[in-house]
């Protein structure tokens, strides 16, 4: 390509929030048609940087150049007018409207007439199969993402920013997305691809900038640089994998049993559970894979006891019927839970850490007597969790909400593990946690299962499940596939199940 003028160049970009520097003197350049990766752990400053490029935030210092000219991008509308499009990690689509209506809303001055045709044309050109007339709430996550991409493409962008685009996709959908991105790039549209997944980046990007703690720590060609080297750059030290104990040959008795659990959806945005059955044995770590929104949160609510099963014996904890027990009753029976959403579900952000211990331990760990709270014991519990799981906070008695996401996650997982429960159900155990902390959490889950507890991990991170699970089941449209040993599975097989293929069953009924 040679030394042509970069399409976009960032020079010494710095962004401060109060005392905290989210970006410090970052420079990078992207050529037209280049597929450039922005790599880094959660909190490395990737999102802050692209928000400045997209005009959502303004840099504290430094400058942006577009086609060699210094520019100020005051807001996203200005960015779009220049030719910058962005697909956010969280979709901003209206569920009640159709695909075409959603796209018309985002394009100022766009007429509905003729739009479906233009949508079809773009979708054909780039292999983004979508029907303009369908209501958005009937679409899968991957299809919703296509709506967002088409919305950007209709404005003929020169640079498309993709923020963690594959976190909601099955491996097959990911493959389709990558083909689209390649085609775009050949047509001259540059791609700025944000991710922390190295293998994806190797597949589609030709250059990469690695960020750590708000600084650029390296530029490389991800196709030729060894994975370990890039990972070390991202984390700042050598990455240690989880020590995988030999799978327990003689798994213990069934400790958590689910038999024919069905729950209706309470709204059109919920997924109904359809006759879910599963046994988790003592000493075993069972993983449930699936893309987002396939019934994981509903299953979690049913297991915690926030929603009760139809009959007691549908859920059994250590052979005791528990389907109609309250969350407290289930905890007293030996179960513990970590829901996916740590802010406002697993923890109350405006309360202190000891108070958050109380949330799940008030009866189960005997922290209250006759309704009187034992403050000393509660504080001690919080202290033990903080020490054992290295929960870092700026001050001695922080509110849960002032902890970083990773530290709060270590706290809510550690809180339950430290009780040494007979049964632990955890959803997205390492969501938004840096690699080091994720290793600590995964090791703790593994150790708990090897000590004889039944551990059920619901996760969208396939790599994680393959690293720690003994058996994996897949949830899709509120149905659970039979669990199979990891030795018999590979990513492709699980990926097919995540996309809805039923093993040994070709008659798929409409969900």
């Amino acid at each position: 390509m040679g030394e042509q003028t970069p399409l976009l160049e960032a020079r010494g970009i710095t962004k401060r929030f109060g005392e905290f520097a989210a970006n410090e003197n970052i420079s990078l350049a992207i050529r037209p048609g280049e597929r450039h990766a922005l790599l880094g752990e959660n909190g490395a400053g990737k999102s802050t940087l692209v928000k400045m490029i997209y005009g959502v935030l303004q840099p504290t210092a430094g400058s942006l150049c577009w086609r060699g000219e210094k520019v100020r991008i005051p807001n996203p509308a200005a960015a779009r007018a220049m030719g910058i499009g962005m697909v956010f990690q969280h979709f901003s689509v209206f569920d009640a409207l159709t695909v075409a209506e959603n796209i018309a809303l985002a394009l100022p001055g766009e007429k509905m007439r003729g739009l479906p045709d233009r949508i079809s044309r773009v979708s054909e050109t780039y292999g983004l199969a979508i029907e303009p007339g369908r209501a958005v709430h009937t679409l899968s996550a991957g299809e919703k993402q296509r709506v967002e991409i088409i919305r950007c493409l209709l404005q003929r962008p020169k640079l498309l920013i993709m923020d963690e685009p594959t976190s909601v996709l099955t491996p097959q959908e990911t493959g389709i997305l990558f083909e689209t991105l390649m085609r775009l790039s050949h047509d001259g549209c540059a791609i700025l691809y944000i991710s922390h997944k190295l293998d994806e980046i190797r597949q589609i990007c030709e250059s990469a900038s690695v960020l750590r703690q708000g600084r650029t720590v390296g530029q490389c060609d991800p196709r030729t640089t060894p994975t370990a080297e890039i990972a070390a750059k991202m984390v700042g030290h050598e990455v240690t994998g989880v020590r995988r104990a030999a799978s327990n040959e003689t798994a213990g008795p069934v400790r958590l049993s689910i038999a024919g659990l069905s729950l209706p959806a309470r709204s059109q945005f919920e997924t109904s559970l359809k006759s879910i059955s599963l046994d988790v044995r003592g000493g075993e770590l069972l993983g449930i894979a699936g893309v987002a929104g396939e019934g994981q949160s509903e299953l979690m609510e049913a297991l915690i006891g926030e929603r009760l099963a139809a009959r007691p014996e549908i859920i059994e904890i250590d052979s005791r019927p528990a389907g109609r027990l309250s969350p407290t009753g289930r905890r007293m029976a030996g179960a513990a839970f970590v829901p996916e959403d740590r802010s406002g579900h697993a923890a109350v952000t405006e309360m202190s850490l000891p108070q958050n211990i109380l949330l799940s331990h008030h009866r189960a760990a005997g922290l209250s007597r006759m309704s009187w709270i034992d403050f000393r014991a509660t504080r001690e519990w919080a202290k033990r969790v903080r020490e054992r799981f290295d929960v870092r906070a700026g001050k001695d008695d922080p509110k849960a909400g002032s902890l970083s996401g990773g530290n709060l996650q270590k706290f809510v997982v550690g809180r339950e593990i430290l009780r040494e429960p007979g049964i632990l159900v955890v959803s997205q155990p390492t969501w938004g946690v840096d690699t080091g902390a994720a290793a600590v959490i995964r090791q703790a889950l593994m150790d708990l299962s090897r000590s004889g507890s039944a551990v059920l991990v619901i996760s969208q991170d396939l790599e994680e499940l393959f690293a720690i699970a003994d058996r994996i089941a897949v949830i899709h449209h509120g149905r659970l596939s039979p669990a199979r040993p990891v030795e018999d599975l590979d990513a492709e097989a699980v990926g097919l199940l995540m996309g809805g293929a039923h093993p040994g069953n070709t008659t798929e009924d409409a969900a």
């Binding site: 915690i304 006891g305 926030e306 697993a346 109350v348 309360m351 008030h362 709270i373």
Partner: protein, 358 residues
């Protein structure tokens, strides 16, 4: 100069205590401007409003008499608001307390013995609870907004009382005035300071507010209420029933408002009239906020708001100021307080914000 609001990392505990004082200060300044606009000397008028209530012993005792119902209702509302349940119809529950108590008092004119007073007050509590049970039921069963239901029921209770004292409970010897007969001796609250109207309700409000403060701070019940109010999903995760909390706080605040109604009628008016409330049910909302939604703090809030009542009476007599000025002062206090509470979560920084929202 351009100022920017900047979020604090954590809510400031100091500011939570300082903002009521700032709000009172701002109310005085704005109130002074208002009085000047009405052609009065602001200094003198403010002195009548806010200082004269403390100047003689009778006014001081009347201050406490007004603070008793305000404190009782305010303490209950503080608990209720913590649960994120907005009972703004305490005025109706207060009225129903007086009506339920009145039903006993008016049917036993010759009663003697202390047990009758206990039964009278218990009926008052029950009346408030019954009235608060309606929004609780509608909220937990049909997800009806408790703010609207509570507020509208307040007017229903007021009209019910009006009908009673003009109809079935009208005093035959009352020269046609809309009022009931006087209550019997057994139904009058004992006076604790001779020569004043200060009654034993003072000990009750102090004991109840302190007990509620202990409940909120040290027991699982209080924790349950605070968690459910702050994060309902976390409450469900902890195994707390949201419906249970809604019932508990509405019955508690309704019962205390009912008790306040029965106490007030027994201690000061000693008969039922259409206008028994003096707006205590609504003013107590400000009491709860001045008291930082802490039941013990509501005691302080009650005294602060009682000052505006006594001061308003004095201003009416001495300065011929309309009574509505009192309501304006109370309203300004609430507005300034809620506005100042922004400082708990944010700090002010000079300079412009360079961020632009999407």
């Amino acid at each position: 100069m351009i100022l920017t609001l900047e979020p604090r990392a954590e809510p400031s505990p100091v500011m939570a205590l300082v903002t009521p004082i700032i709000a009172v200060g701002l109310t005085l300044i704005a109130g002074g401007a208002l009085l000047a606009g009405m052609g009065r000397a602001p200094g003198e008028a403010l002195w009548v409003y806010f200082v004269s209530p403390f100047m003689d012993s009778y006014s001081r005792s009347e201050l406490l008499v007004k603070a008793i119902p305000l404190g009782l209702i305010g303490a209950g509302l503080a608990v209720c608001f913590r649960a994120n349940v907005w009972n703004i119809g305490a005025a109706g529950q207060y009225t129903m307390g007086a009506i339920f108590g009145g039903a006993i008092a008016l049917n036993a004119p010759d009663a003697t013995g202390p047990l009758w007073l206990v039964a009278y007050l218990a009926a008052g509590v029950l009346g408030g609870m019954v009235w608060a049970a309606i929004p609780a039921l509608l909220r937990t069963r049909f997800n009806a907004n408790e703010i609207l239901v509570c507020l509208m029921l307040a007017y229903v209770a007021g009209l019910l009382l009006d009908w009673l004292v003009r109809g079935p409970w009208k005093d035959p010897l009352g020269f046609g005035f809309p009022q009931s007969r006087d209550f019997g001796e057994a139904f009058l609250m004992p006076v604790i300071l001779a020569g004043t109207r200060l009654h034993a309700g003072l000990w009750m409000v102090i004991a109840i507010a302190l007990a509620l403060a202990v409940m909120m701070g040290r027991t699982m019940k209080g924790f349950e209420i605070r968690v459910t109010g702050a994060a309902p999903r976390a409450g469900a995760f902890a195994g707390f029933s949201q419906a249970g909390v809604i019932w508990f706080v509405l019955l508690l605040s309704g019962g205390l408002a009912g008790l306040a109604g029965a106490l007030e009628v027994s201690a000061t008016i000693q008969q039922l009239q259409p206008d028994i409330s003096a707006g205590y049910g609504f003013t107590a909302i400000i009491v709860a906020f001045v008291g930082r939604l802490n039941p013990a703090g509501a005691l302080i809030g009650a005294v602060v708001l009682a000052v505006t009542y006594i001061g308003g009476d004095n201003a009416q007599i001495l300065l011929k100021l309309p009574k509505n000025v009192t309501g304006i002062f109370q309203g300004m206090l609430l507005f300034f307080l809620l506005a100042c509470d922004t400082l708990i979560r944010y700090r002010i920084r000079p300079g412009s914000s360079r961020e632009q929202e999407v």
